[in-house]
Symmetry: C2
Subunit: 477 residues, 2 copies
């Protein structure tokens, strides 16, 4: 058992050094690798398969709400990027510029899209004419580039994969409805599919998207008590429509501006899965997103009939994503490898099990072992995957709730921020000065103004003036 | 019926002006639109949905052969692009260069990938160590950029979507096997899924991929007699491995270079579908790739019971991709719209049909009308879709075969090239001088050296020296 011990030992404990623990899992579970392109990552098969499952599930849920996929160019001419004032200020400092095409310098430089609002607006401006053309519920799966100074695999990378939805509506109400609908699609995906509980709410004006009227967000809490913005949905009102002149002829024969939204989720969710569910043995994958849900490990596989039985069991479990590890490694090595990769259920089966018509199921999340009859293994594995999803969600929620604190004074807030990593709920007057001060003095940013408001106090935690909102604060990725 | 007549009239006849006919279909069937980014296209929902179906089907077929998906950066540092001499010469003149990231100029400029051999090689050089790490059968779905001077939607665009597979193997034999395997995956997809017959063969050295030892291709013939290279698969031997130093420790404890392949298929297949199957009424989609396979058009839909029945039939046909057009347009308008969009089967159902418990199926490809009982409509539609696929393939094949000519002398070849658009089969001595001369004098390029060789003559069609190969020649997109 020396080898697999070494494999596990090679992971830094998360209590010792969380950042290193994260990096170790990324490397050891073979999710991603560094590339020769500074700040850009390579997504390896194990990491890409997770993203692929997220993508397929999201895409299905988008389409169920009437969304259609399209593809727009990856380049944005500088003059187009500059059309909406707030937007260009937000993005221009962090884009990559293409200045030469083929052997000749470009007449106008273009950036690689950091996001595609300007391209969609330019498209809608000549594609939308009448109320009959609305709504436009378009989405694209693409990669985008933001020239970040410090990067980390999945969490912050100069290039990342995402989807960006861009819609145009006849009325403000419809746009608001779509904005909230998509936030809920993200929230439901996180909770139902990734077993990650989220807080749904709105961003403060300071934290909203460059050019948006309102940004909505879902925020999740990592093991280390830091928050991760996990999906955002923006209502642009008619700001972009006015900048790009996107008008339609309404039923009343009047020209009106459209109302727009955009919404996105990225490969950083792979990072969220690591940091919400992982443990000191490696990755722990929620069953619904796991590329392999069940790994069958034959014991004494050289003995006659063992491998045959293992593949027989695989057949029986073919409703799940199941593999047999028939490599020439030792069972112990296989155990620790399947642990490292986060496979939800391991099936151990050897000569003695076969003699008794049974197998042992081992849960990745709790290490619990359950002996089951081979006659009912398919049903048992199905139930177990459900249970694991449920338990993982509840554990993540319990962790979040036990790391959510209330502060009613600035001193209290400072004390919590210094000693207790997690969310801090506190009242706020609504002024950006207080937000700025909390960042400077306490070191936290506003994560969101949750839809579920609570009345914790009458006054702002910072300035003592009358409070208007309860806000989640925290340190964030 | 005036409106729909107008809609159809708006398409240029393919016999009058094939290029304009193509452009009209792209626009009228809403497949693609021009963008403000010169030379880059917008893929609209109807076009993207076709690509999505091709992608999903190809991806499934790739995975069945053991391929895994990954994602590598979109940028290539100049020094990396330059590592393989032939490769850089082939691609450097047509790439887009990024020279600035954020507010600062880059120390080394990077191009946006035109293809990713160099990135995969750089990755494999540090990722592959032992024979146990082989084979690496990786693929990525991505967009690439080639700075073309003249562009056309789907056929030639400065940015296009594709997949690129990049594999590394222990032996030359394995690499050759993979190269041919993937060419066959493409060929089978074209024939079984897109109803497009292809010629499988090898490119001449002149036409092979920059840096490859051998390039294999599938070639299809468009309505206008021009060829379209529809998928390529390259065997690199160990050329790239030597340039990038990709070595592995073999079982015999010796360091050896890997053998590599790459293979790709692109969004230009959407263009192939248009130009192989389309007619003067618009797009004609092969049933398997059609995003909507069946469009139900209710007749006199305002009459009680008609719409209900239409949606009932939709339920009955739910094994297919089926829609009801319940818009307020006239039936005639709906007919011509569903024709324009290429939907394989239209179901017409009105009060009289309902009274007789029947509906009329209309084939897009032949306009044939078939009255069927509602009791057996699901089975009949299933059979009809099969028949349509089969007939579309056979028609395309008959067209290709009747536009494939044999030339044994240069004069004969010139005469054919001038008057009979299509493939020209002719013997070749194997020298590039003759290939160059045929391009200059006859205006054709070598499309491929087909696997199915025929002996048409003893001598080269160009120089009269002994022939070594039978080659397909033609004008190409």
């Amino acid at each position: 058992m020396a080898k697999e011990k070494k494999m596990v030992e090679a992971i830094t404990s998360m209590d010792e050094d969380f950042a290193q623990w994260y990096t170790d899992i990324v490397k050891k579970a073979e999710l991603s690798d560094y590339s020769s392109v500074k700040g850009c990552m390579i997504i390896k098969p194990a990491g890409y398969a997770i993203w692929e499952n997220i993508r397929n599930e999201l895409d299905k849920r988008f389409k169920a709400t009437g969304v259609e996929n399209v593809y727009l160019p990856m380049f944005i001419p500088e003059s187009l990027l500059e059309k909406e004032k707030d937007h260009v200020e937000g993005f221009a400092p962090e884009v990559a510029w293409v200045t030469q095409g083929g052997l000749e310098p470009l007449q106008e430089r273009m950036c690689v899209r950091p996001t595609s609002e300007t391209l969609f607006c330019d498209f809608y401006a000549h594609d939308v004419h009448s109320y009959r053309d609305l709504p436009r519920n378009y989405n694209q799966w693409a990669s985008v580039v933001r020239w970040e100074k410090t990067t980390r695999p999945f969490l912050r990378s100069r290039e990342f994969l995402w989807q960006e939805g861009h819609t145009a509506h006849a009325t403000a109400e419809e746009a608001q409805e779509r904005t909230e609908m998509m936030l809920n699609v993200y929230a439901d995906l996180c909770e139902d599919f990734l077993a990650i509980p989220v807080i749904r709410g709105r961003k403060t004006d300071k934290e909203k998207f460059a050019g948006a009227e309102a940004t909505y967000t879902i925020e999740s809490l990592m093991h280390d008590g830091k928050a991760l913005q996990s999906g955002t949905s923006h209502n642009f009102g008619d700001g972009f429509a006015k900048a790009f002149n996107i008008q339609y002829l309404d039923k009343d024969n009047k020209l009106k501006y459209v109302h727009q939204t955009s919404w996105g989720m990225t490969t950083r969710m792979v990072g969220a899965i690591i940091m919400v569910h992982g443990d000191n043995n490696g990755l722990v994958l929620p069953p619904k997103v796991a590329p392999t849900q069940v790994m069958i490990v034959p014991i004494q596989q050289a003995k006659e009939g063992v491998l045959d039985k293992a593949f027989e069991v695989k057949e029986v479990l073919s409703n799940f994503r199941v593999k047999v590890d028939d490599s020439d490694k030792s069972p112990g090595w296989k155990f620790s490898e399947s642990e490292m990769r986060g496979i939800p259920v391991r099936v151990e089966i050897g000569p003695r099990d076969i003699a008794e018509n049974q197998a042992v199921l081992v849960r990745r999340d709790t290490h619990e072992k359950i002996t089951v009859s081979l006659d009912e293994i398919a049903a048992k594995v199905g139930e177990l995957l459900e249970t694991i999803h449920h338990d993982m969600f509840e554990r993540a929620k319990a962790h979040r709730d036990s790391h959510t604190y209330v502060a009613t004074t600035l001193d209290e807030m400072k004390e919590i921020a210094e000693n207790k990593p997690g969310f801090i709920k506190a009242m706020w007057c609504g002024n950006q000065e207080c937000e700025d001060k909390l960042k400077e003095v306490v070191g936290v940013t506003s994560r969101c103004i949750p839809f579920n408001q609570e009345h914790l106090a009458d006054t702002c935690v910072c300035c003592g003036k009358p409070a208007t909102k309860m806000v989640y604060w925290g340190k964030a990725y």
